[in-house]
Symmetry: C2
Subunit: 434 residues, 2 copies
């Protein structure tokens, strides 16, 4: 099979080929505007061609630091919120073992994405007798949650390591401006650059996502290889041949037909954080102008015994996208049991992954019969290359989908609202005024 | 403050007191029918008065086994799907440390809620050199996912421990019938009973939920104390004085006004699994008849930088319920920094939990201004008692809400659809026919 295949055969009852083709003119012209960098939000289109450029020096630098961290730390704390950590966490959780066995690699812990005093208190206790490196990721350095976490953890590092703390703090931030850049220059922290034209939720294949993954020994070259191949494969401005655009167009057609909720579901629990990354990508790009598709995630089988009931029989305003990796390395067989009280002998000697594949098909069929538009994204092997490919597929689809909806895919005005209210209540705004 | 307080002051623009009172007749009569056990689905109303009965012998038996497991195992594997494990996991994750420090207590691992060969393969490797107890939870013993997991893990236990495996397998199932009951009787497994009149998603305060919690040293008496107090406090058939019914009535009014999605959000990341439990409770009880509220969960701050954008500015078909515990034991302060490059000195010496409380308020205000109906559930301390209380509050609210919607809160016909398709594709149905 190809690296990725969008399966739409269950959608015939909802979307005609003619409807899709009618969108092709819009898709083509958006594509041209996007690639000529003249579309709305064009100051954030750097991610489009980034994978085609040569980043080998940057990757080498990450691998060097990764080696150093592995030799000198038990814990690597990544401070960031939203797009500054969801991508790395998604790939990490998709590929790491379900049960931690290899204690030789540093443990990666995320901070700065919540304001829980309990979380931070326990983190400080946990770090007390362990050697630590910190990677703080923030364009401005003043987003409240990561800024607070960094202030607390910087103090911890300076008390623990003195001057040497500066060698254990790595900053990923703007090349020239912002609080974090200033501090890095002053203290001599090593740093990676967040390109000005790449927004948080499109940054997973920059140092934002790749450094934490390199620390854990994931093949960052393979990720970039997948991302690059996707950028090449998905470069046509056509709704039929470009699967990312096809996914985007289908989503927008379903939205206009009253399907305002998309459930991304998969049958491998390790993909849960990839769903979270996807939810941020689409939710923050499209949830605007009192419209857009609400993206929610489901992990099957467990959620089939939860909102599965709702998907099957609830309000008919949702559609489902099944994400399915065909090749999963490890597997297990159902043993034969002479007694067969559980009536499972019809499955004996069958592999769990095979049964899981059939559960995926069965679920699609049941949901289709229940009146849910279902499509699926079939991906090859669960590995770095294919996840990189898939993530770029989603990014390109998301940009096109938001443009088709008529909104800027790259801003997030609604996120400012809570920040402003919170700052006001905390007295920041009045203090600034003083 | 009281143990739990439903705050509705932000709802005035959406729901009048008169509308709420108009529902009171229905609420009263449903309440009567429910407590007289004559309402639809009355064969599953056992949970209503269960907390008022004496279960001390049962609790003692759990505590005895807990002691035995703690002395003889490093891992306690709980096999179950849906309501058979989500309740225990919710309480465990709400109360356990964010970072595992105490290695003296057995680790609790959940299985049988997915069909991933990778998960099971890795679990078997992980268990290889560790002493293990198993708790398999299933009414029938033939639900595919847990039945497969138990067949595999039973083989592992028998190969590892021989005859002694039977002493390390504890069954929670029906008192008389089903595959698991038969096997337990034959092998001499110790067992706990799932009462016939208590369904999976209402079973957290039976042995289904309490045994795994007792193993980990949580105060199961305190949980039952909270549950009992809730059963007493929420015993009036009135939409004003009974807060569970008020929450139910508000939900149904919002549904009729076009708000078909409820976001349950909180600012303590440890509550994520409590949200999953809530989602199962409401989604499986109400997602019926092509109607009902789609329950989704959000964990703030992180999700404010994700679907937070959608909540603020997306389609106006969602309402939000903020879940907020006032007293969280551990905390941490923001340190003073003379340089103040991050401009956070206005927060110095303030506690994170206090800032988090203000973030909760600020978020509510921002979302209200964005056109989202917001209510909040304020709970006292994050501990066993209050979580038990809260869960019973949700159960009673859910039953009332489903009845007001006109559906049976206790069946899940839609879950059968995928099971049937899957079995058909796997060839079970044809084999049975042979």
């Amino acid at each position: 099979m190809s690296t990725l295949k969008l399966q739409t055969n269950y959608l015939d009852a909802y979307i005609g080929q003619d409807e899709l083709l009618l969108l092709n003119e819009s898709v083509k012209s958006i594509h041209e505007e996007m690639h000529n960098k003249i579309s709305t939000g064009n100051e954030f289109l750097g991610w489009l061609d980034y994978p085609l450029e040569d980043h080998s020096a940057e990757l080498e630098k990450m691998l060097e630091i990764a080696l150093e961290v592995r030799n000198n730390a038990k814990v690597f704390v990544v401070i960031g919120i939203g797009g500054s950590y969801l991508g790395a966490k998604a790939i990490q959780d998709a590929l790491s073992p379900y049960f931690r066995v290899d204690e030789s690699l540093p443990e990666v812990i995320y901070a700065g994405q919540n304001l829980s005093g309990r979380y931070m208190n326990q983190l400080l206790k946990y770090l007390k007798y362990k050697d630590v490196y910190i990677n703080v990721i923030s364009k401005s350095g003043t987003t409240t949650e990561p800024a607070i976490a960094f202030r607390i953890l910087r103090k911890y590092m300076e008390e623990k390591y003195g001057e040497k703390a500066n060698e254990r703090i790595i900053v990923t931030t703007d090349s020239e401006k912002g609080a974090l850049r200033e501090l890095a220059n002053e203290k001599g922290y090593r740093s990676f650059i967040i390109d000005e034209d790449i927004g948080g939720r499109y940054s997973v294949f920059t140092a934002v996502g790749l450094l934490p993954l390199a620390i854990q020994g994931y093949d960052i070259h393979a990720i970039m290889h997948g991302v690059k191949d996707a950028a090449i494969d998905l470069s046509e401005g056509d709704v039929i041949t470009n699967q990312a655009y096809q996914y985007a167009a289908i989503r927008q057609l379903l939205l206009t037909k009253g399907f305002g909720v998309e459930v991304l579901a998969s049958f491998e629990p390790a993909l849960k954080n990839l769903h979270d990354w996807w939810q941020q990508l689409f939710g923050e790009s499209e949830g605007k102008g009192l419209d857009g598709i609400l993206p929610i995630a489901a992990s099957f089988s467990t959620d089939l015994h939860s909102i599965g009931q709702y998907i099957q029989d609830g309000k008919r305003f949702l559609f489902e996208t099944l994400l399915h990796f065909h090749e999963v390395e490890e597997d297990c067989e159902v043993p034969y049991d002479a007694q067969n009280k559980d009536q499972l002998n019809y499955l004996s000697d069958k592999s769990l992954n095979m049964i899981n594949d059939i559960a995926t098909q069965g679920t699609a069929m049941a949901h289709v019969e229940g009146g849910v538009p279902v499509m699926s994204i079939e991906v090859g092997t669960l590995d770095e290359y294919h996840i990189g490919y898939l993530m770029y597929f989603f990014m390109k689809a998301c940009a096109m989908s938001a443009y088709l909806q008529g909104v800027n895919p790259f801003d997030q005005p609604g996120v400012e609202a809570y920040k402003f209210k919170m700052s006001e209540l905390l007295g920041k705004n009045s203090e600034v005024r003083k």
